[in-house]
Symmetry: C2
Subunit: 210 residues, 2 copies
DNA sequence: TAGATTGTTAATCGATTAACAATC
DNA sequence: TAGATTGTTAATCGATTAACAATC
């Protein structure tokens, strides 16, 4: 529990779990590291090292037990009670994200949306109720929301992040194209779509020249 | 030109350019590394090293010239003629991305959308015309499209990536939650929203327990 | 000059990869 | 046993950070 696990490892564990669930649904019972690694796009050694992190051991003869491993992975990084999230900025991107997660069965629920546009307030969009910005702090506290998703224009993002931090959010997913400054006790994941796309364009061009 | 520049460096350069454009618009003429680094959320040493990569040198007395530096950065990783991209999967997420990039003035244009739903074909959504899937190869060739954006369900993603590769796309931005296998000469950027959000939830919980 | 900033090299850090004895 | 797979340690790799002489 006290172990500090890196960002990368957690990402891969999440990936493994997803694949394990598919395999379990297909009726498979056990598998070897290279099979799971192949599907996840990592090396078998990498996978084995990751599984050691969560303390799950396989057997040289039978590999890994899918059911037990899935449970171990889930126990490692899933809250049995689930987590609540709030999304601020119910624009095109915000709505797409609500719809994306509304359809999935994740342990994490986006339980509230916020927008400064009064026309969106009190509406239910993709199963998520929208509130006015003024209620951000209040709703976060009432629902013990630990995760904030920011889908507002760059100019407003820092203020929202500050408010979220005040209200007790400890993880932020930021889609605004700006470098947010947050306290060290808040995990910040930046998803900068414009930046990513420009990066792809750059490497695509490099690949063409070869 | 032959230099191989890492993924991370390119991402930061893109960030710097964005900030430089803002500063230029505000009328600033020159700045020191720590100013730009502060806004980009990196160390000054990191920034200086990145600028050395593109061969731009500053002066100890005046720092960096904003206008000249902006041009150098742009010359380094922007195609003067611009790049064309295609998006496959005009669902909620796909439409949000079209709207997101349609509003921005990037050098990269999403010139075509594709969907298997006949009701979307031939419509213009956020300034982007939609075509049937069968025309993917043809349109990619006609418009010299080098970048592909995949926003289809996981099960369809690999087939689309393969078709894109055949048609000559050299960079793919994949939003489907699956590990795509692509040829080494194709740059692949995975944006797995569900995975990212679960990662944030995990670290948010870790931060709460402290 | 003095002082802040620069380009550049060396040291550090962390993650990945390779190697190998132990296991079924 | 023989053989494939495992857990675990050591070596490699790459990126970041620190240090410092050179510059204006």
């Amino acid at each position: 529990m006290a172990e500090k696990v890196s960002d990368r490892v957690i990402g891969r564990l999440c990936l493994y779990r997803r694949i394990l669930l598919e395999l379990a649904a297909a009726g498979d019972k056990n598998l070897y590291s290279h099979e799971l690694a192949g599907r996840a796009g990592v090396t078998a050694a990498q996978l084995r090292r990751d599984l050691m992190v969560i303390g799950y051991l396989g057997s040289p003869s039978r590999g890994y037990d899918i059911k037990a491993l899935t449970e171990s992975v889930a126990a490692f990084f899933e809250d049995p009670e689930g987590d609540n999230a709030a999304l601020v900025g119910v624009g095109n991107l915000g709505r797409a994200i609500l719809s994306y997660f509304g359809g999935r069965r994740l342990r994490l629920n986006i339980v509230a949306g916020f927008d400064s546009d009064p026309r969106k307030v009190d509406r239910v969009i993709h199963n998520c109720r929208c509130y006015p910005m003024e209620k951000l702090c209040e709703i976060i506290n009432e629902n013990s929301i630990s995760v904030g998703v920011i889908t507002v224009p760059a100019v407003d993002a820092q203020a929202i992040a500050d408010t979220m931090a005040e209200a007790g959010v400890t993880g932020i997913m930021n889609f605004a194209p700006v470098s947010l400054k947050v306290n060290r006790n808040i995990y910040l994941e930046n998803i900068d779509l414009a930046l990513s796309l420009e990066k792809v364009a750059y490497f695509a061009r490099q690949n063409q020249q070869k």
